[in-house]
Amino acid sequence: MSLVIKNITKKYSKKKYALNSVNMEIPNGIYGLVGPNGAGKTTLMRILVGLIKPNEGEIFLNNQCMLKNIDYFRQKIGYLPQEFGCYKNLTVKECMNTIAILKGLNNKNKRLEQIDKILKEVNLSNESLKKVGNLSGGMRRRLGIAQTIIGNPLLIIVDEPTAGLDPEERIRFRGVIRKIATNRIILISTHIIEDVKNNCDGISLIKNGVIKQFNSFKEFEELSVGKVWQKTISEEEFELYENKYNILSSNTIDNKLVIRIYSDERISNAEIVKPSAEEGYLSWIKK
């Protein structure tokens, strides 16, 4: 199974491109889409779920053109947007039931059976009679992911799933995503590089509507190898370096300031270091 995105272009005005001829090929598994705010991530996701029509391009899921028959494909796609604030007065089970009906699961017995199974999978069985509005942030996110699995979709799209979650919930959420990733494509949009590193099989970077695709996280990390420098400076010198270089991080160690800089050119008295994944990302978006 694969998702193929061909030359997708979305313009909001004559000169402003939200997406500029985007091409991607995503195989089975978990795939991360990373980029700064306003890069075009949400636009791409909205196009994939049929909320926005692109100006140009085509999308194929399992070799079938999605844009020509989007109503059919809506049943084959699970989507968790950034905001999941609907049906707050319903219980978890009623909310799942409502979404299952809207997705076209008309057989009541099969539907309820599937809902019970999914709730167990995301550890929400004990909360099935709780109102959605009374769930914690983490539980609501898990409910969000649970509703995406209804109808056994081929493609699941998740927008900023771990934003605002504490580390424990984030780790639990990653586990849930991994559990449901068999035989389908999961596309996750996020700012959190750690989530992508620990969870995703492939990664794409998006900036100003243009995409760069990597087949592995290692390939992504190599993006800035040989370009990250570490130097110890005094606190007074910091402003000078900040104005001159692209500083990625700074830490005080033994009363001295240790800075890490992204630079294509050699920096005097600085040593070259292995970049972290986050530094790789930062150096790419600051380019």
Partner: protein, 225 residues
Amino acid sequence: MDKKIKILPFSSDIKTLSINIYFLILGYIGLFIYQWFLKSGCDTRFIDMMLPMFTVFCMGIIILIIPLFSNLVNPMANELILSLPLGGIGYVLIRVVRIILIYILLTFTIYSIIYFTTNKKNFLGHFVDIKLICSSFIFLAGFGLLVMLIGRNPIYAYTSTIFLFVFSYFFRGSGLMYWHVCQWIQPKPNFSAIWKLEYTMFISGVICFILSSIFIKNKNYLLKS
């Protein structure tokens, strides 16, 4: 997955309406008690009871219909709902029809109580009023829903229907005469004119619902709310 009409559970709709239902029922009970016990004894008791009841019932339908669909224009909720394959018949028509039918039943019960306790002689008028108020429900619900979707905000639905109501109630605009279906005020009611109004309202209401169903397909527009 099949292509049958998707019928959402009625219990979910009632829960979605949440506190609105209780407010509405409390309003009716309060009004009824007030009219019944505090304004009794005079010849105009029937009119005294019918007018506010008519007003409250007409506005009540908006309170019941708008919250059912307000998720479509709520930026915290609409992205998920709009990404689902919503069908016009299951998502709009069936939900609206069953709420209106129950509401009509409630109206019919309360009107019957008023008629049989105040104005038993004019039994025909009872059905005329009920028929007219049903058309008002359909028109108001459809109009309110369409305005909410166009304006992408439920407040527009409430304010525009209240404005329409107040305007026609006080000024008796000819096209909006249905607000004065209280035909007992007239010595000789013109029933053919009333039917015409009723059909016009019914058809306008249905058109509003059809337009609303089409509007729901315009997901990009609704997402901007």
